[in-house]
């Protein structure tokens, strides 16, 4: 075994006393093999398959007798999931409570997914909320926010944010936020910017007021990604900016959020936020630079600056990446 080889070597060099080396060797030989991540992944896969399949089943055989079995089964399963989560709940705290365990966590997630499926079905079949479609989207958002805070669950918090976003007509999931169609749709861009900034604000509040500080990452990562990409769309595409977001405001907002992200990344030693901040900040600075240069009119100096800008920013990129660890860790 590798650890035995290393331990013998350390003993020979006099870096470890023999009895301590024996203890470590014993620990390495007897420690159990952890299946934690494998089980977690399989459980999540099972939950996604189950709720996805059940969600489709709901809309089939609508006139069949088996249909009521499906609806009833999903309802009972949902109730059982919530009951299991409630039974294993931890007392509420604004800090981070002791984890309730794998099974209660995933039971809550499954319960929420089944709730979404069932609620959508009831609205479709029986018009539960009548024509107040907004209400049908706000209800899960409100419920999930409540559950996420009560049961201290980051996955349910993500679902709550997703539900809130779809109430506002926006997709907040990291990939969809990048690919949804912002062009010629000031309403969508405006909603995305509003929601993004709101989420960033909540993230800041939760970190600095110490209200579920460990939720800040979810708020800030989803919110800043959504808000920044929407503001970039408002900046670059004619007709996609709402009236209250002219270009100068966009530039200032992007630079502000990027600067905040870099500052926050240094505070929390986070690679994700420093990369987000640097990337969006660079785009905004480049835009600003070329716009300001256009005011100058023709002169030789301008040409020189233009040729040098990209080589210089390449050098800046290399400097940034070389020192990224220092930038993050410097006190």
């Amino acid at each position: 075994m590798l650890s035995d080889q290393l331990l013998t070597d350390l003993q020979a060099r006099g870096l470890l006393p023999p009895d301590q080396a024996a203890t470590i060797g014993e620990y390495e030989r007897t420690r159990p093999f952890s299946l934690h991540y494998e089980l977690r992944t399989l459980l999540y896969l099972g939950i996604v398959l189950l709720s996805g399949g059940a969600g489709v089943l709901l809309y089939q055989h609508l006139d069949d007798i088996s249909h009521s079995v499906v609806v009833g089964g999903i309802g009972i399963l949902m109730a059982a999931c919530f009951a299991y989560a409630v039974r294993h709940r931890q007392p509420f705290t604004w800090g981070q409570p002791r984890p309730a365990g794998l099974l209660p966590d995933y039971a809550l997630l499954l319960g929420c997914l089944l709730f979404l499926a069932l609620e959508g079905y009831l609205q479709y079949q029986y018009q539960l909320f009548g024509t107040r479609y907004g209400l049908a989207l706000v209800v899960p958002a409100a419920l999930f926010f409540g559950l996420a805070y009560r049961f201290d669950h980051r996955g349910v918090l993500s679902m709550a944010i997703t539900a809130l976003a779809s109430w506002m007509g926006v997709a907040v999931a990291p990939l969809e936020a990048l690919t949804q169609y912002y062009f010629y749709d000031p309403g969508l861009t405006g909603a995305a910017v509003t929601l993004g900034l709101l989420l960033v604000a909540v993230g800041i509040w939760s970190d600095f007021q110490n209200r579920k500080r460990h939720f800040a990452f979810t708020y800030l990562s989803l919110g800043s990604n959504l808000g920044l990409i929407a503001m970039l769309a408002a900046l670059f595409f004619n007709g996609s900016a709402p009236w209250w977001l002219p270009r100068p405001v966009s530039v200032v907002l992007i630079l502000g959020v990027s600067a905040f992200l870099i500052w926050y990344a240094r505070r929390t030693h986070s690679y994700v936020f420093i990369l987000l901040g640097a990337l969006y900040g660079y785009v905004a600075v480049t835009y600003l630079f070329f716009t300001l240069l256009d005011f100058g009119g023709y002169n030789p100096l301008r040409e020189l600056i233009l040729t040098l800008y990209f080589p210089l920013s390449m050098a800046g990129l290399v400097y940034f990446f070389t020192n990224i660890k220092k930038i993050l860790r410097r006190p």
Partner: protein, 402 residues
């Protein structure tokens, strides 16, 4: 002997640092001891962070391409060399230049998988193989020139020297990509030989499985060498790859579609020995998972789980046993129940297995919340002209349907 390009002590020091960090986190050694070990085994090589490594890799590739073009256009053409002579000249120049630069920078700058050495290695190997191919084309009969396809009878003349080159490069540089390329070249040898005969197509799956098994035995023997730490990542990846190719050699879908592809049939037809391949497809993943749990060995376990997924796909590709939504619901329910039982059963460690996380690795809850945001969604009502909400997908799952 070929020798090692990098200092083997670097790989050893890396392993020592990782182990010491773990023991320190677990409180098995004191901070002072940790510091003493770290200073006694210095990591005195150059390997920057991942971003710089990617940049160095790209810059080196661009630079070597530029050099090749420069020599081709500026030096050789004005000298009056014809195209036939300039191509091998450039290849030779690149090969010699890349390997000379690689060896000297490893010596002088103590590079150890820093991005630029990887790029130089790949460029140099490509240049050598291209040179080989070019020289072969000159001596082969005109009808076979530049036709290095798998079924061409002269393919072996290029394949065998390339394989030898890749193996030698793996021994010297212990690069994972080169090792994987060498393994694939090794599998091509029996494939090529068998495809020369009409009966070879029948034997191909079995011979490939045998080749993978032989490679696995060989790797297991190599892993007991005292210098295996130098090759650790190579061995890990090759082990996973041999297990995967052994399974794929016996997978019904791969064999059937591969047969149709090789015989240029428009649609695949039933294959001989089909029951044997059904059995392989069904049983190999189970064997892998069982072995993975009994040894215990994470590579066997992961390859087992992945091949289990491939087997399910194979089944559904040919037989739609159940409608997709019913199958998904049942499979999901089964998975949830099985994992829930396993989690409860392994809450106290049994058979050397546990469902608890290793103490030294914190759970990746932040990443998980992003995955939930991306994937947790529910199918909306079927589109029957009914408008629900703002036109986005139903109950909050904005990522579309299942």
């Amino acid at each position: 002997m070929i020798g090692k390009a990098y200092n083997p002590a670097w790989a050893y020091a890396e392993a020592m640092h990782a182990a010491a960090k773990r023991w320190h986190k677990l409180g098995l050694i004191s901070p002072e001891q940790h510091r003493a070990i770290v200073t006694d085994y210095p990591l005195d090589y150059y390997r920057p962070n991942i971003f710089i490594r990617i940049l160095l890799f790209l810059f080196t590739l661009i630079a070597s391409a530029t050099v090749a073009l420069f020599f081709g256009l500026q030096l050789l053409e004005p000298l009056g060399l014809r195209e036939e002579a300039s191509i091998p000249a450039i290849c030779l120049l690149m090969a010699v230049g890349c390997f000379a630069l690689l060896e000297s920078t490893i010596k002088s700058s103590r590079l150890y998988r820093a991005g630029s050495d990887n790029a130089l290695l790949y460029t140099g190997l490509t240049a050598v193989v291209a040179l080989l191919g070019y020289l072969l084309s000159q001596v082969l009969p005109a009808s076979h020139r530049y036709q290095f396809s798998l079924t061409d009878s002269y393919f072996l003349l290029l394949l065998l020297p390339s394989l030898a080159l890749l193996v030698a490069a793996t021994i010297r540089y212990a690069d994972t990509v080169v090792a994987v390329a060498a393994y694939l070249a090794y599998l091509l040898v029996p494939t090529h030989v068998l495809l020369q005969f009409s009966a070879g197509r029948l034997l191909l799956p079995f011979v490939l499985m045998l080749a993978a098994a032989v490679a696995y035995r060989l790797l297991a023997k190599l892993a007991r060498r005292p210098d295996y730490l130098y090759y650790k990542t190579c061995l890990t990846w090759l082990k996973a790859l041999t297990l995967a190719t052994f399974y794929l050699g016996g997978n019904y879908l791969v064999v059937r579609e591969g047969n149709a592809e090789l015989a240029s049939l428009p649609t695949s037809v039933q294959i001989p020995f089909a029951p044997l391949f059904y059995a392989c497809t069904a049983l190999i993943p189970l064997v892998y998972i069982t072995m993975g749990l009994r040894r215990p060995d994470r590579i066997w376990l992961w390859v087992g789980l992945l091949t289990m997924g491939v087997s399910c796909y194979t089944l559904r590709y040919y037989r739609s046993v159940l409608p997709p939504e019913v199958a998904a619901t049942l499979a999901g329910a089964l998975l949830v129940v099985l994992t829930a039982v396993a989690i409860r059963y392994l809450r106290t460690p049994r058979h050397g297995l546990t469902s608890a996380a290793d103490e030294e690795t914190p759970p990746l809850l932040n990443l998980e919340s992003l995955i939930v945001a991306q994937t947790a969604s529910v199918a909306g009502p079927p589109p029957t002209g009914f408008q629900f909400g703002g036109g986005h997908s139903g109950g909050g799952g904005a990522t579309g349907n299942f």
